[in-house]
């Protein structure tokens, strides 16, 4: 078959002819999209891990439809993987895709709807639809190609299905690996590494499965070598130190294990469940136990019971689960029971956007309980921090005797990134349950009047007998309705946050310590914000970034830091009224969640730019806003 070279390919070289040499690029974004069940995610992850092993910076993120098996050829059914490669470390999933492999044209529409393409994006499209037996599909396909070209995408049809059919009876089970081969050719991947990675992924399958998959990869590679006159070169520097690649949920799971968490109690909820799926298979190896409860409320109460009994406990959930756990978290605050609560945020309110990212649970975490329920809230900003923060959260929960909420999100949960292999140490495991007698006469809440801290008696300890209660109580845990007691115990619980605050250092400013605009963020947006700041700062604009890990208490020195900038702006993935919206009087404007907190705690007129698009903020979106803000200033 003679391959028609799509018109777009002629535009690659500066003079309009085909390049003889690979085109060097600093970074590239590749997407593989298919119907659900066609294996695009496996192929994408493999492409990411091959690249990471070669020493490229990598960020991969899953493209997940809300349903298990949405109808084929449907826009919202797009399933796959985005892989961003870089010469150096990659901190976020980036802007629009440079290269897109689509198994049908409808899922590509789905990605267009999500803002994943731009004029100039290169699209490789399975050409099987051109000869589909159904005339309406042939027509849809032809019309789509025309539209894609009109939009400026560089479309090239590839005989994906046809080539796979030579090797496998059901091409639905082969296109992903063939595509991986094509990408390996396009980006000149080391095929020895590729073979090892394919072997690793299929090691548990039958030998002929592995063989067949590798044949497909090779076939795709050979085909691209012969038919694609196009290569990209992204130079790579393999890391000397041991490196791991995992997603945020796996990092949370392993972090909980490294923290010595003994009981993980959960109820299935997207996008948190994959963390517990992983734990279900492995927690027992480290001596722990995972409990699938009958509901979210039972999950948190089970964890509270285990923690009360002296075992370290965690529960992993997402927004709707956090809502259901509200009352129990109040109990953990009131009764001062340590607990690690991981909230993998998704779009809300209500069932919202179950598979999509949002940072909408910050205020619910802080203020969800009726009454005053002070607790530590922290947010990792990288996959590595997803691991580290579990150990930190466990220690803080014990030291400060209460729940610690760790807010990750769907972006971190499914994003994969290489990072230095963590050093797992016995000292990070939870200490054993104290069994020595409790000091005679010491109350169960022997609050230090300055710090609010108190040691905790555990069932089994002689002399420590007391009855834990969610009712207002004195230091003996006796139910107490007197006004003075409630005031005092409220002070003691609140004081713990002030005590923790005193151990924190002011956060580091990214780029210059003063300027016209300071962008403040939290959680998974860090990479995108800093990339946007870099682009604008490199043009000489006076913009810097600040990323907060601790939201409750807030990190110290913020007011002073803010005073060095003309304007402070939070960038968040949650809803706020646009300051330019004439339908909203300025006094009625509702701010982004971090902005609310910062305004309240610093009395600085902090502005915000927030969006709820259901996908991670792209650096270019942030960049545009920063330019607009700087032009205003």
């Amino acid at each position: 078959m003679e391959l028609a070279v799509a018109e777009g390919l002629h535009r690659i070289g500066p003079e309009g002819h085909l390049p003889e040499h690979p085109q060097p690029v600093d970074q590239h974004i590749v997407e593989i999209v298919s119907d659900s069940g066609e294996g695009a995610q496996t192929a994408g992850q493999l492409f990411g891990s091959i690249s990471a092993r070669m020493g490229n910076g990598v960020w991969t993120v899953e493209i997940i439809p809300a349903e298990i098996e949405p109808p084929p050829r449907s826009r919202p059914g797009a399933s796959g993987n985005r892989i961003r490669l870089g010469r150096t470390r990659v901190t976020n999933s980036g802007d629009t895709a440079d290269v897109m492999v689509a198994f049908n044209e409808q899922v590509l529409f789905g990605r267009i709807d999500s803002g994943a393409l731009r004029p100039g994006s290169r699209v490789f499209m399975d050409n099987k639809w051109a000869t589909d037996p159904q005339p309406e599909i042939r027509q849809q396909y032809a019309e789509a190609l025309e539209e894609f070209r009109k939009r400026g995408y560089l479309v090239q049809e590839i005989p994906l299905e046809e080539e796979c059919k030579r090797l496998v009876p059901d091409p639905r089970r082969g296109k992903n690996m063939w595509t991986l081969g094509l990408l390996c050719s396009l980006y000149q991947r080391d095929m020895n590494i590729a073979r090892e990675e394919v072997k690793r992924v299929f090691s548990k399958k039958k030998t002929d499965t592995l063989e067949r998959n590798w044949q497909l990869v090779q076939a795709g590679y050979e085909w691209a070598n012969t038919h694609l006159p196009l290569r990209y070169q992204i130079s790579a520097t393999p890391s000397a130190e041991p490196t791991v690649v995992m997603n945020g949920n796996q990092a949370v799971a392993l972090g909980l294990m490294a923290a010595g968490i003994d009981v993980v109690s959960m109820y299935p909820i997207t996008p948190a469940t994959s963390a517990t799926h992983y734990l279900a298979g492995v927690l027992e190896r480290a001596g722990g136990f995972i409990h699938q409860a009958e509901d979210e409320i039972a999950a948190v109460n089970f964890a509270i019971g285990a923690s009360y009994a002296g075992r370290t406990a965690a529960t992993v959930t997402s927004g709707p689960g956090l809502a259901l756990k509200t009352e129990a978290l109040g109990l953990a605050v009131m009764a001062e029971i340590p607990l690690v609560v991981v909230v993998v945020q998704r779009g809300g309110p209500s069932t919202g956007l179950p598979t999509k990212v949002e940072q909408g649970d910050l205020l619910a975490s802080m203020f969800g309980q009726p009454g005053d329920a002070p607790k530590i809230v922290m947010a990792p900003s990288t996959i590595a921090e997803c691991f580290e923060f579990m150990i930190e959260a466990r220690k803080l929960a014990e030291t400060y005797r209460g729940p610690v909420i760790v807010l990750t999100d769907a972006n971190l949960a499914t994003g994969q990134q290489p990072f230095p292999r963590p050093d797992v140490q016995e000292k990070d495991l939870a200490p054993p349950i104290p069994q020595s007698p409790w000091p005679q006469g010491q109350p169960p809440y022997a609050w230090d009047p300055v710090t609010g801290l108190s040691p905790r008696p555990i069932p089994g300890q002689l002399n420590g007998i007391h009855v834990v209660t969610g009712l207002a109580h004195d230091e003996h845990s006796h139910v107490a309705y007197e006004s003075g007691t409630n005031q005092r115990s409220s002070v003691m619980r609140s004081r713990k946050l002030a005590t923790f605050f005193r151990t924190l250092r002011p956060p580091k400013i990214y780029r210059e310590p003063e300027g016209d605009l300071l962008v403040v963020g939290w959680g998974s947006t860090r990479g995108a914000i800093e990339e946007a700041v870099d682009r604008v700062r490199d043009e000489g604009k006076r913009v810097s970034a600040l990323h907060l890990r601790f939201l409750s208490p807030l990190e110290p020195g913020l007011r002073e830091i803010f005073s060095r900038f003309k304007k402070v702006l939070t960038v968040e993935i949650n809803y706020s009224d646009d300051g330019r919206d004439e339908a909203v009087p300025p006094e009625a404007r509702r701010y982004g969640q971090l902005a609310w907190l910062l305004r309240g705690s610093t009395l600085v007129d902090v502005d915000c730019w927030t969006r709820v698009p259901g996908h991670p903020l792209q650096p270019s979106e942030i960049e545009n806003e920063l330019r607009r803000q700087l032009d205003l200033a």
Binding site: V245, R285, A286, A298, A303, G305, Y308, Q425, N463, V467
Partner: protein
């Protein structure tokens, strides 16, 4: 008792517990409330079984009866409305050395906590669970509960409850993996005691419904039953609850019931003419979730680190 605790020669065990070792505050329940009887029976049981107070945990929800842990001098957890069972399951999950008791009420267990009740039965973790059923919400001042009888008046249904009540025995007996179901009455201390003792000794989730008088709000419910013993059906069997002949002969209305027969137990639970008391069902060999959940407790730190490192190996590139 008579100052014997500190002396009496070499045959005294190193620690011997008297009744007052389990007695804490003075209960704040109304006089005549059935909760007093349950508390007394539990304290006697703890003494007779010589339960170490520091190894005993009484977990409760919210309601009149759920105040009970405060009156026991053991570890206690007065938790959230409806959530006593998940908390107790969590306590039990990784502390097989503790004795766990749960106190719950008809609102706590059969309304707001129904989901947990069903699943806790199925988990069959070793604990003795006492449903103190007075057919009414007491603490919140007389609202219809799921066990309030049809036409029973309350502040939420001044014209009487419009629906038939839930039968907690039937519900419990319908759940997969059920292993112990008994019913007793608060106004017969020997029977109450013997039932709690059987529940405590049962190797699994022992569910005891205690018909509990509320003289303040629902005297009309159990006072007639107290006066007319024919309204009680005494279940006798060699595998059942054993009480002294002087006690059992009080009950003229008796039936031989084999507690290993689930179908018969369900039929007894459905009896409309009298309240059955005794052991309805017991299957000691029912699988226990707490035996699963306690696995791996002794894993030494070095082995845990090694396991985590092996997992990290699989992510290393």
């Amino acid at each position: 008792m008579y100052g014997l605790k500190q002396d009496w020669g070499q045959r005294t065990p190193p620690r011997y517990f008297f009744l007052e070792d389990y007695v804490s505050d003075v209960p704040r329940w109304c006089s005549g409330c059935g909760d007093h009887s349950v508390l007394g029976a539990l304290q006697r049981l703890a003494r007779d079984e010589q339960l170490a107070p520091e190894k005993t945990v009484v977990v409760s929800g919210i309601g009149c009866s759920s105040r009970l842990p405060h009156y026991m001098k053991t570890y206690g957890f007065h938790g959230l409305h409806g959530r006593a069972l998940p908390i107790a399951c969590g306590v039990r999950s990784r502390r097989p050395d503790l004795d766990v008791f749960v106190i719950t009420g008809d609102g706590d267990c059969c309304a707001i906590g129904t989901g947990h009740w069903i699943h806790a039965i199925r988990y069959n973790m070793k604990m003795a669970v006492m449903l103190l059923d007075n057919n009414i919400y007491g603490l919140t001042k007389k609202q219809t509960s799921p066990t309030t009888k049809l036409k029973g008046r309350s502040n939420t249904h001044p014209d009487g409850s419009p629906l038939d009540p839930i039968n907690p025995l039937s519900v419990t007996l319908s759940v997969a993996n059920v292993s112990f179901v008994a019913q007793t009455i608060d106004w017969n201390p020997p029977h109450l005691y013997a039932t709690l003792q059987a529940a405590h000794r049962h190797p699994g989730f022992a569910f005891v419904r205690v018909l509990q008088r509320c003289p303040h709000y629902t005297p009309e419910v159990f006072e007639p039953v107290q006066k007319d013993r024919s309204l009680v059906l005494y279940l006798s069997h060699k595998k059942g609850i054993q009480v002294d002949g002087a006690v059992s002969k009080l009950f003229k209305n008796q039936a031989e019931h084999d507690p290993s027969n689930l179908a018969a137990a369900r039929a007894v639970a459905e009896r409309a003419d009298a309240y059955p008391i005794g052991l309805l069902y017991q299957k000691p060999e029912t699988p226990r979730y707490d035996l699963l959940s306690a696995r791996g407790l002794d894993t030494p730190p070095a082995a845990r680190i090694q396991a985590i490192n092996r997992l990290l190996d699989s992510f290393q590139i």
